[in-house]
């Protein structure tokens, strides 16, 4: 029940504070009373920030926008787990009822060299945009198309394409990976497009270029830990990586176009 009656909690927060990309950062401790279990995790941080602002302190920077689990902006490692304890849930969709009175919560930014810290919990993920710019599209200009129903696509293929297309580009997969690999993210896009007839024409070039960009950005390689898929708020299946590897082999070793 949206229990306004439910008891409130007292929490200890240990939050990563870092002035900018060059400064060294460290964990600072804050106490928060009267946290309602119906608050979202970000609303809990709003309350902290409001307190800090009003008492002359410096509020904590963090990225967020939609607060509905779809824009992929929010990005916090909570008690060592990207997006925190709840499966298939972004930080903004996590609610305080997942914690209990007296808890200590440690909050850190994504940690990966291709995601440099900007300030506190905000990092730069432009490397993801550059991977897409390298090939994560269908080269079709506006207007040069046929009727939407001209090419039938089986429901199963369309559904599978959608399963992969749901990636929100949050980067939790990278943050969770011991090698900071971006294979789940890249694989999700490759798999989405390869499942559809529209993705066939540029199939080989796409995967080659995206993988080359991934390496250039300094992302690591996959050694099959599977942490990425576990942390993924959209439950992008590990198969995306299998598919990425297969497509890459097909395009490079087999030299198919």
């Amino acid at each position: 029940m949206s229990g306004s009656s439910a008891a409130t909690m007292k929490l200890t927060l240990r939050i990563w504070r870092q002035k900018d990309g060059k400064a060294a950062g460290k964990l600072e401790t804050y106490k928060l009373d009267a946290v309602s279990p119906d608050m979202s995790f970000l609303e809990m941080l709003d309350v902290l920030n409001e307190q800090l602002t009003k008492s002359g302190g410096d509020p904590v920077s963090f990225d967020h926008d939609c607060r509905e689990g779809i824009c992929g902006a929010c990005s916090m490692v909570i008690n060592g787990r990207p997006h925190g304890p709840r499966k298939a849930t972004t930080t903004c969709q996590l609610h305080m009822r997942s914690f209990k009175d007296g808890d200590t919560i440690t909050i850190e930014p994504w940690r990966a060299a291709p995601f440099p810290v900007i300030k506190d919990l905000s990092v730069s993920r432009s490397s993801f945009d550059r991977i897409i710019a390298a090939g994560g599209f269908v080269s079709i200009n506006t207007g040069s198309t046929v009727d939407g129903n001209a090419t039938p696509i089986g429901k199963t293929d369309a559904d599978e394409a959608m399963d992969y297309a749901q990636c929100i580009g949050c980067g939790a997969c990278v943050a969770a990976c011991p090698n900071a690999a971006a294979m789940l993210f890249t694989g999700a896009k490759v798999a989405h497009l390869v499942k559809l007839p529209q993705g066939q024409v540029e199939r080989s070039g796409r995967v080659r270029n995206m993988v080359a960009q991934m390496d250039l950005e300094g992302f690591g390689s996959c050694t099959n830990h599977g942490e990425c898929s576990e942390a993924c708020p959209k439950e992008i299946p590990f198969d995306a990586i299998v598919m990425l590897n297969r497509e890459y082999m097909r395009a490079t070793v087999a030299g198919k176009e």
């Binding site: 229990g3 993920r125 710019a133 989405h192």
Partner: protein, 637 residues
């Protein structure tokens, strides 16, 4: 203020074709000599920036998020309309046109709406070609669902994430152009001023949100695709960053602002749970296809929903509107919910909610059938409320969702400032006083892919303005003004947070300029807002400095604009002394509580002109002609 809409001559079905023929073209070799600024990377801006670059223009594109893929459009759930008539259920371009004009309660421009319906069919083809994974039937064809305000099934969707998939399509097209070097993308960059030289829009002044640097960008034309201003209410379904700053500052530089009071309240959102609430979450309207809305018949009935017998429930939408039932347009559904709660029949801890019940749908379709259709929405509901909607009805309440008002544009989507074009939710556009579900995505993509890229060519080919650079004194002057505002905000050093003022403004707007409005309330709000604004400028604390990543400073600038804009909205609402669509003036209603229009006096777009600080804005009117859809009272019974 010149409000000539420049509607082409000829029969409505031929206007757009004829216009495309008559417009001047830019020679392909000359296109790359033109730079176009596109502010915003949502469906409208993303589609426009990519298409303009494909055509050969150089594009400078801006958004305040860290990536263009995160624009607010990403959050749209339900779907996108198009007059494909794939279901063979009697749909047509004319019917979509008709439904949109009628749904907008006769406050939109017919010619624009007709064109929107025409290009709707191209949008679907375009998105399919990009690899948007729309829902499909077993035979491989595209699937459709129905949406509020329509009796045909014309809504295309990708699960509950249609906006995401459409935006990713546009984003990928945009990234392709970025890779090719034809678009220069500036993420985490906020437009803070429009620069007008010789009466033409020639560029913008921005703040680099990472470094705090304030700088100028010059161009041959400027396109604003900066979305809606629903966050003037503080609580809305919009993303936290959605704001009015770009359009409001353009207004201050001479762009007319049309119908600012036209806002849409969405009937199906998760109710407020506490004072800390930071935003509201929409439950897609598609749920009304299978969910049934009800409240107890008896006031103050505190029983659990499952303990209230069938004959003690009031399925008020089905009762009052038998032919549309739960699928009446949004404004009608929202007001009916408010009425039920005002009568003391609201449910849940706050009593400001009604039930949306799936028990019958589960009986009919099985739990799995319902999960197939709405699984992700049910999960979202559960995550937020901690309740399982398969077992107990959802609680919903209306929330601010969309703004039909925006900068006035002519048929070419150009504002009253030559060279300044406005697309997507940011313009006053095609939805009149109420937007139908699944029509915003359609309009954003129509503007961005298929309309603006043609019409802006006509402007560039005929404007013949000399090249300007960012060293022009007008840019310098604007940079100085932006810097002065930043210093002022940072120097107040008061005791209150920006959010405190924003919440206070939001409450005033919701109470007096929300779902129902009246003269006394609006006058009261017009007294309260300047008072809040004055306190803001004396008592706010904006921590940090200007030359750094400073989220509080970003927020403070946006709230400062909302604190002025809210007043304009209330003034517009007060001046529009009629009810129409989402604008419900309590003084003007039918016996059954429906909105009562006054076509004699108000069949116009109200366009406001900025007259300087402390001055009352001037009102101008664009008279609307209804040649095809005859003025009639909307009936949904």
């Amino acid at each position: 203020m010149d409000l000539n809409a420049r509607i082409p001559e000829g029969p409505i079905a031929e206007k757009w074709d004829r216009h495309r023929f008559e417009m001047k073209l830019v020679n392909p070799a000359n296109k790359r000599k033109f730079t176009v600024i596109v502010v915003g990377t949502g469906l409208a801006g993303g589609a426009a920036a990519a298409t303009l670059a494909e055509l050969g223009y150089h594009v400078d594109c801006f958004c305040f998020q860290d990536s263009p893929r995160r624009a607010h459009s990403i959050a749209a759930q339900g779907g996108i309309n198009a007059a494909k008539n794939y279901q063979n259920d009697g749909d047509s371009i004319y019917r979509l046109f008709y439904d949109t004009v009628k749904g907008g309660d006769f406050r939109a421009r017919e010619a624009n709406v007709y064109r929107l319906a025409q290009v709707s069919v191209n949008i679907i083809d375009q998105c399919v070609a990009q690899g948007v994974p729309f829902a499909r039937e077993y035979g491989g064809t595209l699937s459709n669902r129905s949406f509020g305000g329509a009796q045909v099934s014309r809504t295309f969707y990708a699960r509950g994430q249609t906006g995401q998939q459409l935006l990713l399509g546009a984003y990928q097209a945009l990234e392709r152009q970025i890779g090719l070097g034809t678009v220069k993308m500036y993420p985490r960059t906020e437009m803070l001023d429009l620069v007008v030289i010789n009466g033409h829009a020639r560029g913008i002044v921005v703040r680099d949100l990472l470094t705090g640097e304030v700088r100028a960008h010059a161009a041959d034309a400027v396109v604003l695709a900066t979305g809606g201003y629903g966050n003037v209410f503080y609580l809305s379904t919009n993303a936290k960053g959605s704001n009015v700053t770009a359009t409001y500052r353009a207004y201050k530089r001479g762009a007319g602002f049309a119908n600012p009071c036209f806002t849409q309240i969405h009937p199906t959102c998760i109710p407020v749970s506490g004072h800390y609430q930071s935003k509201l979450t929409l439950m897609s309207e598609s749920l009304r296809n299978d969910g049934r809305v009800w409240v107890p018949k008896q006031k103050g009935d505190a029983r659990r929903p499952q303990d209230i017998p069938e004959d003690e429930r009031d399925y008020y939408l089905e009762r009052r509107y038998p032919s549309f039932g739960n699928l009446v347009p949004r404004d009608v559904a929202s007001r009916a919910a408010k009425q039920a709660c005002d009568e003391g029949r609201g449910v849940g801890p706050s009593k400001m909610a009604v039930y949306l019940d799936f028990a019958d749908a589960i009986k009919r379709l099985t739990q799995k059938g319902v999960a197939d259709r709405y699984g992700n929405l049910f999960e979202m509901y559960e995550r937020i409320t901690g309740e399982n909607p398969y077992a107990t009805p959802m609680r919903i309440y209306p929330a601010v969702h969309y703004t039909m008002g925006g900068l006035w544009v002519d048929y070419n989507l150009m504002s009253t400032v030559p060279g300044l074009h406005v697309i997507g939710e940011a313009n006053f556009s095609d939805h009149g006083a109420n937007r139908l579900g699944a029509s915003a995505l359609m309009q954003g993509l129509a503007d961005g892919y298929f309309i603006l890229p043609y019409t802006i060519g006509n402007y560039l080919a005929t404007a013949k303005q000399p090249k300007v650079s960012a060293d022009h004194p007008e840019f310098k002057r604007s940079i100085a003004e932006v810097n002065a505002q930043t210093s002022r905000l940072l120097s107040i050093n008061g005791k209150h947070s920006v959010d405190e003022f924003h919440r206070e403004l939001g409450l005033v707007m919701w109470d007096h300029c929300g779902m129902a409005r009246n003269e006394a309330g609006l006058k009261k709000a017009l007294g309260l807002i300047p008072e809040i604004r004055e306190r803001f400028w004396k008592e706010v604390r904006v921590p940090g400095v200007g030359a750094e990543f400073n989220q509080n400073l970003e927020k403070a600038g946006r709230v400062a604009d909302f604190l002025e804009f809210g007043e304009l909205m209330c003034l517009d609402a007060l001046t529009r002394d009629e009810s129409c669509g989402g604008h419900f003036r309590e003084e003007h209603q039918m016996d059954d509580g429906e909105a009562k229009r006054d076509d004699e006096r108000f069949a116009h777009a109200a366009v406001w002109e900025y007259k300087g600080p402390g001055q009352a804005p001037a009102l101008h009117k664009e008279q609307l002609e209804f040649e095809h859809v005859h003025l009639a009272t909307r009936v949904y019974t």
